[in-house]
Each structure stands twice: as structure tokens, then as C-alpha cells.
């Protein structure tokens, strides 16, 4: 070990500080989160290997015993797994934010002349991007196993937009949980025990028609079901709502938009309050 002599220090000139916009600040922070993914590609496992595994498991292991209206389970399954992947955007955001909050880097950001929202906006955009990578991976996997987009471009784009809108609502849920929980383990515990069953108690992996009557009602009123039904209809993976479907599934697209807005409206204030509580003393 050598001791390095310290050269004399003079900063040649004080730099000019230029006020930056919330957008610029958020993008700097998105870039930070993308660098994290570059350094730890395994962070993407939740939106790559995991959903692909689900596709393979359900399509080939359970697929044979699940009857769907269109007669092709794999094509029917894909929108379900995309819905689940987007729901888990809440998970991604909650873990990332909770990590930051514990490491003190949020204090660093808060001591800078930037908007207090930049951290949240940056984290949310990065979360949305993260989940979108998952959707792309899913779409490609789907094309391989037999999923197709059978309707027009407009409908297809609308379906992806619905996914993003739902992701936006889920991000607020993520910020709420990430700010309220004291550790990443707690975030994991809460999210696994709630979000996991919720994504199954829907039309994601099995048709709701075969569920008991009260269970079917619950599953069809699950916001994820309206989203998944919209995707299936817009991509032309199902002929239309199943016979006897509840009201939300008979109007899947507008209901899905409504659910996303409602969920965002519920979670956003909770998230802001929890975050503010966590960061101010």
C-alpha cells in the first residue's frame, strides 16, 4: 500500500448552476435506474425469465386441461401473462424506491436544488420502462408459441396503451408500498402475499366461466380481468365476452380505463402521503 501525496487542490472555476426542468431531472434519474439494470441484468429476471417460465408452464403443463373459448389456450394465455407482468410494475417500483430510501441517497437528492417530485417521476418512468421490456419479451415469446395480433394496428396500439395506463396506476401502488414499508423484505412479503393471488384470481390463467358463481363474480370484477379481457378482444384472441360474463367484462375497454384511473386516484394520494411522511421529519 502506498501513500499517495495529495496534490494541492484548487477548483479552477466555480461552475454555473442552471435550473433544470422536472423533465430533465426525471430523465437523469431514469438513466440512473437504467444503469442499475445494465450493472445487474438479473434485475430484469422478473420481467423476462419469470413470465417466459409462466408461459411455458401454463401453455404446456396446465394448458391441455384448460378449455378456452377460442380453442387455443396459448394464444388465450398470452394477454393474461402480459397483464400480470404489468401488475408487477408495482413490485418493481416498490423495491427500487424502498432500497433508495434506506440507503440515504434520497437525502442526497433532497439536498439538491431539484424538484422533490423528480425522484418519484424518475422512479416511475423507469418502472414503466422496466415492465415494458417485459411486455416486449412476452410479445416475442408469444409469437413463438402461437399468439397472434389478429385485429388492426389501431386496436393493437390501444391494447398496449391500456397496458401502460394500468402500469401507471400500479406504479402509484408501488410508491405507496415502497414508502410505507421499512425494509425490502417487508415489501417482498406484502407484495407476494397480496399481488400474487390477485393476479391469479382473475381471467389471467384460467377462464372465469369454470369458477364457482361467487368466485367468478369476484374474479370478473378484478381490475386485472377487465384489462386482460380488453387485450384479448383488441388483439382478436377471443371472439368476445364469454356467455354470462359480468358487466365489467362485457364493457372491458372502457371499464379497464375506468379502473386504471380509479386505482391511480386512490393510490396516488396514499403514495404521496406515505412518501412525504417517510422523507420529512
Amino acid at each position: 500500500m502506498t501513500t499517495t501525496a495529495i496534490p494541492d487542490f484548487t477548483i479552477s472555476a466555480r461552475p454555473q448552476i442552471h435550473p433544470t426542468s422536472l423533465w430533465t431531472q426525471s430523465l437523469v434519474l431514469v438513466r440512473r435506474n437504467l444503469t442499475h439494470i445494465k450493472r445487474q441484468p438479473e434485475m430484469l429476471m422478473d420481467v423476462t425469465i419469470q413470465p417466459v417460465m409462466f408461459v411455458l408452464l401454463f401453455a404446456f403443463v396446465f394448458g391441455g386441461s384448460i378449455q378456452t373459448a377460442n380453442g387455443n389456450y396459448r394464444e388465450w394465455l398470452l394477454p393474461g401473462i402480459m397483464g400480470q407482468t404489468m401488475t408487477f410494475a408495482s413490485f418493481v417500483v416498490a423495491i427500487g424506491l424502498n432500497n433508495d430510501l434506506q440507503k440515504g441517497i434520497i437525502d442526497r437528492f433532497r439536498s439538491l436544488p431539484i424538484s422533490p417530485s423528480a425522484v418519484l417521476v424518475g422512479r416511475s418512468l423507469a418502472g414503466l420502462l422496466h415492465s415494458s421490456i417485459g411486455v416486449v419479451v412476452m410479445a416475442l415469446t408469444g409469437l413463438i408459441v402461437g399468439w397472434r395480433i389478429r385485429n388492426g394496428v389501431g386496436d393493437a396500439v390501444l391494447a398496449f396503451a391500456l397496458l401502460l395506463l394500468f402500469g401507471f396506476a400500479m406504479i402509484w401502488l408501488g410508491i405507496w408500498v415502497g414508502s410505507a414499508m421499512r425494509s425490502v423484505e417487508a415489501v417482498n412479503g406484502v407484495m407476494f402475499t397480496t399481488m400474487f393471488p390477485i393476479t391469479f384470481l382473475a381471467n389471467t390463467f384460467a377462464p372465469t366461466e369454470s369458477m364457482g358463481s361467487w368466485l367468478r363474480t369476484i374474479a370478473e370484477w378484478n381490475p386485472i380481468s377487465a384489462l386482460v379481457q380488453s387485450l384479448r378482444e383488441l388483439w382478436g384472441n377471443v371472439p368476445g365476452p364469454a356467455p354470462g360474463a359480468s358487466w365489467p367484462l362485457r364493457h372491458a375497454v372502457p371499464v379497464s380505463i375506468g379502473w386504471s384511473i380509479l386505482l391511480a386516484a386512490i393510490f396516488a394520494p396514499l403514495a404521496m402521503r406515505a412518501y412525504r411522511r417517510r422523507t420529512t421529519d
Binding site: 499517495t4 495529495i6 477548483i11
Partner: protein
């Protein structure tokens, strides 16, 4: 024209529920000087720094940084200061270079300024070789230095350091002190908190002693030493055999003589130089040989003990024996 103080605390109070963490703290730090906030763990130092850096809102009172009020003009305060907190506030998954640039971008520095400053800071903190390494692989000392470098990206006139050398090995500590002195020489005003009396003594122009959220003393290290605790007269005899007779001789002139056999030393409270010359002539006239005779000022540690009734440092090992710097990359 009178210059605005770089930092002012004006009757700062912070309550957490029933607990008063900071109790009516006021002080002024002139531009270009160093203030040491000295106190044990849990004294309220960090809370004071958090209020002054806009991270925490005072229950009452306020503070001004570079003339800006922390409550009314938090953004102006944030533009004028840098903060190195107690917890590492660098991003572990980014490289040193990326950390500096990220903060530079958030400040809205031009890319030219940013490159220049990042290079200068990396060189300054001996991190040039580690610039493209991920921070996760840095040693404790390197992380601290990067943290400090990141706080200096905008070259702020005021710098807050919350226990900057906690957990550093002695060498890293000395290096950091050096850096801090040079920053001050270049005109930066520093406020640093520390539990190490030595650190406050070495770096600070003025020391504010905090205990249980209150200012219990303030002044230069010298003033603090003078104001509390008496100076001591220390006689070191040449031969251990002479110790009892020397003690007897000393006792006939001053009271409270303390004998330290292993050091062959006699210690007694003294009021000033006159005591010393008097005792010197006493030994001069005796057959006892002495090695040394001197007046010892109380250390800041003694001062702290006298002020608070307890020691400032939790244990003796606190003052820099941590060695987490073994993976240091050297140039």
C-alpha cells in the same frame, strides 16, 4: 461593508413528539471559517445539520445558509451548499465518474464544466484510477472521499459534513483532514460534526459543544480549554526511587498531588506560570533529579468531561482504529 455570515443558526428547536432533540441552538459561522459541532452520539448534531440543509423542518427558530433562510428559501439554500451525510449517499451501482456526472446533470452544469470538475475532483480525491469502477467495489475510505467529491460538484461556498471521518482508518482520516484544510484555504466555509475531540481541535476555528440538544459551551479550542478545568503541573523525576521523596516535597508546597508510578510523574493542579517557577526553584534546591517540569493544559476531552460529567467518546477505540481500507487502490 459587513459580510454576511456563511451560516447562522437562530434559536433552532426540533421536537420529535415529546422528545426535544434540539433545544434553542444558536451560533454564527463567519465566511471562510470552520465550525466544529462537538458532542456525543445522540446529542442532536445530525438533527441540526439536517435542519440547516433543508432535510428537516425546524419546530421553531430558523437557520440561514449563505444569507438564505432554510424555511423560506430552501432552493436558494440548496444551491449554496453541499452536504456529506453520515450514511453513504453515493450510488453503489454507478461508477465514481457516473455518480459525479449524475449530480452535475441535476445541478444543470454545462457538459464542459461537468467534465472539468469531475476530472479535478477525481484527481483531488485520488480516485482517478477508480473513476470507472463501480462504487460497490470501493473501500470505505474511497467511498467517503467520493461522497465528499459528490458534495463538491457545484463547488458550493458552504459545506456541511456530518461525522466525515467516522469509520475511517487513521491514514484516511489524516488525508481527509488535509483535503478539508485545503477547501477552507480556497474559501469554503465548513460546518462539521464530530464526536472526536481531536478532530474538532485540529480543524475547527470555533467549537460549539452540544449535549442533549443544547449548546453547553462555545469558543475556540483554546478558550474552551482555558475556561474549564485547571491546568496541571507535571513533574517527571529521573529515578523512580526519588518518587516518594519528590511527592513529599511537592506536597509541602501544593495540595492534591497525584502520583503516577509507571510514568514517574507527579501531577498537581496549578493556577499559572508562577506556580511552575516556584516549584522549579524548590526542586532546584533539592537533591532530586528531574527530567521534565511542565504545565499541561486540559485536553478537550477533559473539557468535555468537566462540562458534561461524561466522556465525549464512547470508548478509546473510537478515535480511528477501524480498518476497512485494506482494499485501497493506490495510484
Amino acid at each position: 461593508m459587513p459580510t454576511t455570515p456563511a451560516i447562522e443558526a437562530i434559536n433552532l428547536v426540533k421536537r420529535f413528539g415529546d422528545k426535544v432533540a434540539v433545544d434553542d441552538v444558536s451560533f454564527v459561522v463567519p465566511q471562510g471559517s470552520v465550525l466544529g459541532l462537538l458532542g456525543p452520539n445522540g446529542a442532536g448534531k445530525t438533527t441540526i445539520v439536517r435542519m440547516m440543509t433543508t432535510l428537516s423542518i425546524p419546530t421553531s427558530g430558523t437557520a440561514r445558509v449563505a444569507g438564505h433562510d432554510v424555511i423560506r428559501e430552501p432552493d436558494a439554500v440548496r444551491r449554496s451548499m453541499g452536504l456529506t451525510g453520515q450514511a453513504a449517499t453515493v450510488d453503489e451501482l454507478l461508477t465514481g465518474q457516473e455518480n459525479l456526472r449524475m449530480i452535475g446533470r441535476l445541478y444543470g452544469l454545462s457538459s464542459r464544466d461537468m467534465k472539468r470538475i469531475a476530472d479535478e475532483l477525481l484527481q483531488r480525491f485520488s480516485l482517478t484510477d477508480a473513476a470507472d469502477k463501480v462504487v460497490k467495489d470501493y473501500s470505505g475510505g474511497m467511498r467517503r472521499r467520493l461522497d465528499l467529491a459528490v458534495s463538491l460538484v457545484a463547488v458550493p461556498p458552504v459545506l456541511f459534513l456530518d461525522e466525515p471521518t467516522t469509520g475511517l482508518d487513521p491514514r484516511s482520516r489524516l488525508e481527509l483532514w488535509d483535503v478539508l484544510r485545503q477547501l477552507v484555504r480556497d474559501g469554503t466555509t465548513l460546518l462539521l460534526t464530530t464526536q472526536y475531540l481531536e478532530e474538532a481541535d485540529r480543524l475547527a476555528d470555533e467549537i460549539v459543544v452540544i449535549d442533549h440538544g443544547k449548546v453547553i459551551a462555545a469558543g475556540t479550542a483554546l478558550q474552551l480549554k482555558d475556561s474549564s478545568g485547571q491546568a496541571a503541573l507535571v513533574v517527571t523525576v529521573s529515578h523512580a526511587d526519588d518518587l516518594p521523596s519528590a511527592a513529599e516535597l511537592l506536597r509541602s508546597h501544593v495540595s492534591d498531588v497525584h502520583v503516577d508510578e509507571s510514568a514517574r510523574q507527579l501531577t498537581a493542579p496549578a493556577t499559572g506560570l508562577s506556580d511552575m517557577t516556584r516549584i522549579a526553584s524548590v526542586f532546584e534546591g533539592s537533591t532530586i533529579e528531574i527530567d521534565d517540569l511542565g504545565l499541561k493544559r486540559p485536553s478537550l476531552d477533559d473539557v468535555f468531561l468537566a462540562l458534561t460529567g461524561h466522556r465525549a467518546e464512547a470508548d478509546d477505540t473510537a478515535a480511528g482504529t477501524a480498518t476497512d481500507d485494506s482494499t485501497e487502490v493506490s495510484a
